[in-house]
Symmetry: C2
Subunit: 298 residues, 2 copies
């Protein structure tokens, strides 16, 4: 698909990936029907699918079979979706709108939202365990470990915990970075690396470049999110705007100001592209995704 524009490439993957998600999620006809309907509601028809696109782009760079990357991308997206469902609950961010729709606990109920998140997490690991993602099962176990570590208390869930503790506090820039490297960065890194690991073609030097790229992109993603949250309106974002400042949560904008936050995003953008300098045309989609993540308006 190298002749396609980025828009055509990402649109094609997004459409195709929606079918992948439809197929891996249990049918709403299967008991427990309401739980399965709520799982599908929370995952399908929403989001930019940035993490799956990163997995597909890294998979293309590595020459991985897209039918394998599908499951890696789906696993990462299910973890992301579960975290949004739990994060929106009243005991966390108490949000009523997500991706332009009522959040899961509003559309269903809190107990169902709790179980939706729990079951989506299980399903993510089930996908990585039951499908052949590489020719080497030992390598596949490493992929499972990577996703579990990225999701857990020293990854995404840990970042959420630090986020909770930070409400009303003045964080330093390193503390804010530490929080976001866990909360957002860990899963974005996992998306890139899991896509690449579906092929055995990359040596450690190349994987290290991808690792560096993914860290810069993960942090840039959050800085841009903070800028957009401070500037955009709710209709454009598809979620409640200005919430972080309202909730007295530290952000790159509250800490640095909007101009310095934009400058930081631009520097991370340069560093992400620099990490890919040793690659040629095969890294095109990753470069385009870095551009998209930093330059997006929603």
């Amino acid at each position: 698909m190298s002749a396609l524009t980025f828009q055509a490439w990402s649109g094609a993957h997004q459409n195709r990936f929606e079918d992948v998600l439809r197929n891996v999620l249990p049918s709403a006809d299967v008991a427990p029907e309401r739980l399965h309907a709520a799982m599908r509601y929370s995952v399908l028809d929403g989001g930019k699918r940035v993490r799956p696109l990163l997995a597909f782009a890294a998979g293309e760079l590595a020459g991985a079979d897209v039918s394998r990357v599908n499951f890696a991308a789906a696993a990462v997206e299910l973890i992301h979706a579960y975290s949004l469902v739990h994060d929106d609950m009243p005991c966390m961010d108490d949000d009523v709108l997500r991706r332009g729709k009522p959040t899961c606990h509003v559309q269903f109920d809190e107990a169902t939202a709790l179980l939706v998140g729990d079951a989506l997490q299980s399903l993510a690991f089930q996908l990585l365990a039951e499908h052949s993602l590489t020719d080497d099962p030992a390598r596949q176990l490493q992929m499972l470990k990577l996703l579990a570590a990225a999701s857990g208390s020293r990854g995404m869930a840990g970042g959420q915990a630090i986020d909770l503790e930070s409400v009303g506090k003045q964080l330093t820039l390193p503390e804010l970075e530490f929080m976001h490297i866990h909360k957002t960065g860990a899963l974005i890194r996992a998306a890139v690396l899991l896509g690449a690991y579906c092929s055995a073609a990359l040596d450690d030097v190349k994987l290290n470049r991808l690792n560096r790229f993914s860290k810069c992109v993960g942090l840039a993603f959050q800085v841009v999110d903070d800028v957009l949250d401070s500037e955009a309106d709710t209709a454009t974002l598809g979620k409640t705007a200005g919430k972080d400042a309202d909730n007295d949560k530290p952000t790159y904008v509250t800490l640095l100001g909007v101009q310095a936050a934009k400058k930081m995003a631009a520097e991370l953008h340069v560093e992400a592209l620099d990490a890919l300098a040793g690659f040629g045309e095969e890294a095109r989609r990753l470069r385009e995704l870095a551009n998209f993540i930093v330059l997006r308006k929603y």
Copy 2:
């Protein structure tokens, strides 16, 4: 340890296993400290460790290395512990007492309890992925798939969802069984099979016997739980007694009456032992666990 009484055998494993759990849980000195403290609070120093004991007993039957079974048992117990933390939350059972201590959301807060459950689930899969549980990584992937399926929407989380929907309803006996086969049975079955899978010694005939045993024990466990809940007091149970009936939840006792429920437990006990009839002394601990599960008073 075949010369030990059951009490001595189980006590030795319980003590030893507590150290296993202490070691696999992140230290409360590591950031995010409060989350890690809450994870340790929710898992350590509590419970009869029935699922780990089943894994150890099945591992002994199969001749598995106990250092491998440790991680399988810990993974199952972490899934169980996460389900209790989430189940106790206000949007689910809203319980304040568990294992004689304040529940996680009471001792810490609701948001932390939510993240504790999420992070414990990730950690369970991380353990199964990062430690060598068998000589065959492909077999280990099967073990991960088994635990993920037992935990998810067609396993434990699905059973919880059916449980939620059943409040105030008159279920039939098959419906009640369907609920408990998912809610309690799936994880008990996983404990037995994962313990056995740590060795490659058992053929399909023997594994099928264990499968049948685990299903009977899983259901018996729940029937006995319902009987105890209807008869015991809160101090003996270490959790709020009489809750299910108070919450208008169908149980084996409300459906069958206490005498018929006891008869059902006794029949499942006989069937569980019958499933082990083809084994000799090597199944001793599994037989003793079946006896313990059915005859326990708390």
